[in-house]
Symmetry: C2
Subunit: 569 residues, 2 copies
């Protein structure tokens, strides 16, 4: 039996777009003499649809789309993810389901049992878990069909992670009793820079436990902040990898399953196929999987613009490492002609900043302009003078500069239909080292899930990849500064970045408390100071734009903290 996995990039709620993609894949599969085509989780409406799921009208449109696919199922079996109205009076309104379409009808349904409700996931908000598990019959074979999290109950991967809870029910333990021939999982499993190994390990663990071949179909593409990296998988029953979908790209994956449950394709070796014990990095390592982070960020920018129907970006080019990195990523995602860099020097800007920022735009080949902010700053100060009286220069004056820049960038964005790219990194977002409505402005945060030391590594990676200096070495080498007052350096206000990042990683990614972090050898005052800064700046992050998520704990929708609260400070 020839089976196809369709790894595609959908737009949430764009039923016409999704349906035409799905139909195209089905037609291609029919042409290729496929007997069964498998899609990813909730692909009809795109994942995650969030509260659109609470609109009856939205669900009706999902059903209408399924009905449109039924005629095509005369020629091929279609296994497709869709929200299903719960037919019973009790429980939540919906199931997260996979439908088997064949011979012009819905032949079977597999409903998700394990509903991820942690980090970025809110599935129990919408879906009733299903405990009524049956294999689906297709051409004399029994398919054990599960949806994403349903196979993640095993202890293999991430067993120490508090947000990956253990489940009381194991869907595959039930299904295996019905003697299935093959396991098929429909997923929408998001990227983080260690997740491909997790995913490979959990699929493999299922194959080893149940001794069945397994097809795992993931979605791909970025949905606002959440990046789906593809990497669909096929394992034979001996836990050999047979096929691995492309990462960060759509794919159409064909396999041939023999009557005895073997694949006619050969065995693959993937660099993601590593022992599962090594999966969760217990310490911050700014070098880890930088290439994947780069790919995810480029896709994150590209999809954000494409799906919103925008082409052009602008950003403030300060001559620092964060804006340089953001600019280089934007050029890679959107094309050099579509990135308009704006230099906005003030009386506090150093000559090298302006030179470095210009050189970067020259190296990248994107248009750039320079707008001085001093006259604007002076106009603000003139109007504020009677009110500020003779109070000393402080953060208020610094913020006026940052907000004047934000205003200029937004004015250009509004006038020319650009989206403003935010350039804040995760380290500064963590401690609130940024100006709300100033350098924290933007439609999408490109590197808000990238710590400062990772930002440096990414710059080096970009230059290595190009085989030449794209990002001027001086930008990488010089001491970081916000340049909002004379001779300011980040190190005046912040600890060394390697220490800062390391402590932040323990607190944010691993959710360690102050005592546990101190036990690593950091002194109490430093740890306490950093943790308090993180907690006190929730109000700033709460007003921040979506961040392209590359770690397993990003600020934004996956980390939900009280704004008014006093823990640790």
């Amino acid at each position: 039996m020839k089976i196809i996995l369709s790894q595609q990039n959908y737009i949430i709620g764009d039923f016409d777009f999704n349906l035409s993609k799905i139909k195209a894949a089905i037609e291609k599969a029919i042409e290729a003499k496929g007997e069964l085509i498998v899609f990813s989780e909730l692909c009809i409406c795109g994942y995650p649809p969030r509260d659109f799921l609470e609109f009856h009208d939205f669900i009706s449109r999902c059903n209408a789309a399924i009905n449109e696919l039924l005629p095509l199922s005369q020629k091929i079996g279609i296994l497709i993810g869709v929200p299903e109205i719960n037919p019973k009076e009790e429980g939540k309104d919906l199931f997260n389901a996979a439908y088997l379409l064949h011979e012009g009808a819905i032949k079977g349904k597999a409903r998700k049992t394990l509903l991820p409700t942690y980090d970025i996931f809110d599935e129990y908000r919408y879906f009733e878990p299903s405990y009524d598990l049956s294999v689906l019959e297709f051409k004399g074979k029994k398919l054990a069909v599960t949806v994403c999290e349903d196979i993640w109950n095993l202890h293999t991967a991430n067993k120490d992670m508090p947000y990956n809870p253990m489940y009381r029910v194991s869907p595959m333990d039930e299904l295996i009793k019905q003697s299935p021939d093959i396991m098929i999982n429909l997923s929408a499993s998001p990227f983080d820079y260690t997740h491909a190994e997790d995913r490979m390990a959990i699929v493999k663990a299922n194959v080893k436990k149940y001794q069945l071949p397994m097809l795992y179909c993931n979605g791909v593409g970025s949905q606002t902040e959440v990046v789906f990296d593809g990497g669909s998988l096929v394992f034979d029953k001996n836990a050999n990898l047979i096929k691995e979908g492309k990462y960060f790209e759509e794919d159409f994956i064909e396999v041939h399953l023999t009557e005895t449950g073997e694949f006619t394709e050969g065995i693959l070796q993937s660099e993601r196929d590593v022992p599962s014990e090594e999966l969760t990095p217990p310490h911050y390592d700014p070098n880890l999987n930088i290439d994947r982070i780069y790919d995810a960020l480029v896709m994150g920018i590209k999809d954000y613009f494409t799906k919103l129907g925008f082409k052009k970006a602008t950003l403030g080019a300060s001559g620092g490492v964060d804006s340089a990195l953001t600019q280089a990523l934007a050029v890679a995602a959107l094309g050099k002609e579509n990135v308009h860099a704006i230099l906005m020097p003030s009386q506090f800007s150093s000559d090298h900043s302006v030179r470095d920022a210009e050189q970067l735009s020259i190296n990248l080949g994107n248009p750039y302009d320079t707008i001085a902010i001093e006259p604007i700053y002076d106009a603000f100060m003139q109007q504020l003078k009677p009110h500020f009286k003779d109070l000393p220069f402080n953060v208020a004056e610094e913020n006026i500069q940052a907000r004047s820049r934000g205003n200029l960038l937004m004015a250009l964005a509004n006038k020319f239909g650009y989206i403003l790219l935010n350039t804040s990194n995760k380290s500064e977002l963590a401690v609130g080292y940024g100006t709300l409505y100033g350098d924290m402005a933007g439609g999408i945060s490109v590197i808000g899930d990238v710590y400062k030391m990772q930002a440096y590594r990414l710059c080096e990676y970009i230059n290595e990849k190009a085989g030449k200096e794209i990002i001027p070495q001086n930008i990488i080498d010089k001491a970081p500064s916000a340049e909002l007052r004379p001779d300011q350096k980040d190190s005046d206000s912040l600890p060394e970045y390697m220490d800062l990042d390391t402590i932040l990683y323990q607190y944010i990614e691993l959710r360690k408390g102050p005592k546990e972090i101190m036990a690593m050898g950091y002194d109490e005052a430093l740890v306490s100071r950093i943790l308090k800064m993180v907690n006190r700046n929730e109000y700033k992050r709460n007003q921040f734009c979506p961040i392209i998520r590359v770690s397993f704990k990003s600020f934004g929708v996956g980390r939900r903290m009280p704004i008014v609260g006093k823990y640790l400070g």
Copy 2:
């Protein structure tokens, strides 16, 4: 037996503060010869603690606080809400529990079964539901102790609301089998302007079904956006109301339960005690419960400032109804000396706007200042001229004005330690009629859950309450305008507000789709235009500050929409 309900206002994560409040109430109860004191849900750490629950250190501090209370339980039984570590290997890490402390020990635990995971609630993110239900024994009585949602499975209230799902399990149906003497529920049940009736109805429905007396202890106080309004309840077994806690205030409620299960107190009549069929308003009514909305907003402002340790507010006073209402509410919450109004006229401001704004501050008695933005706007335009070339005046120039005002207000806030109050209303937030980083700036949105027509009613209520013109009648009477270009009126860009509000209410509060709204008699073009505006402006609301929640569906944490998505447009 004398029982006390302690209805208190906690700070999330401030264990010292919460513990000292709890101890004070216990000591008062001991002095009053109480035998049992009941607190609200998760009062040890404050509700909702959100992702702090994922920190082991945070949970340890909760346990330490319980240990500190044990000695006091020598003299009184204490029933108190606390997160409990799940002792089993399987399931989520925590239970949402109520502990019975007595004779210096933890005598029993009741664990929450029904975990609200809808709207603002994320309980399944953290807690394992408990299906192991037992009454707690106390002084020869059997207490059927439940936590908040556990009693909301009945069909009485809100039965048509899609976000109030029906549950498969009924905790009280289990507990009743053990022949309890009394029902006690520990809640953290938030306010919305129709919720007090819902709550009264559900408590009463439980009493009627199980024919037992019931004590219902709610928390009070505002936690960032979520307002808890108190209103704890005591019903006798015949469903007569015996006590009703204060609304929007702390309370210490004493009742005497006789051996035969009667209360020695008399029967009360509450205006919240209405038939449950009338609970969910199917149509927008801007007059409904305006007095409660007023009280909630005042408490929301007050608690936001107090709990963050701030005293003073600033805001932009435009002479329009939204800023006038916000200013009057702020003066009520913080005192007139703590509200600094800033008038920022431009060349497009009308004379009456400035006069009206001045008159308002004079009526309220708060300090105010005037800062002209024209020189700042001119400085921006001077710098942008070479880039804007000769493109016509459009939204870019309008936004420069709004953002210059935002910058001025934030500069004053930064310089003097004010919090900027945002003045946007729900109608304009819905359709994106506001400038990001401009009039959308602020630390807390006071009226972001108040539709425009409700804002008018609130202004009238304030004047009625005062018995004089606090908000100048001209502010209420004149046609609303953003005054960002000559002779601008809201009605140039928006439908009439009563139509707009009505359609928004159907879409936002009731989650009706376009066809259902058109069936009310609105034409397709209007409905489609409004719904598209709502969907296309998710990106703006995503960067908006917390909104004091007064409706059953507010923008913010309770409404989670994709930013990149194409549903309806």
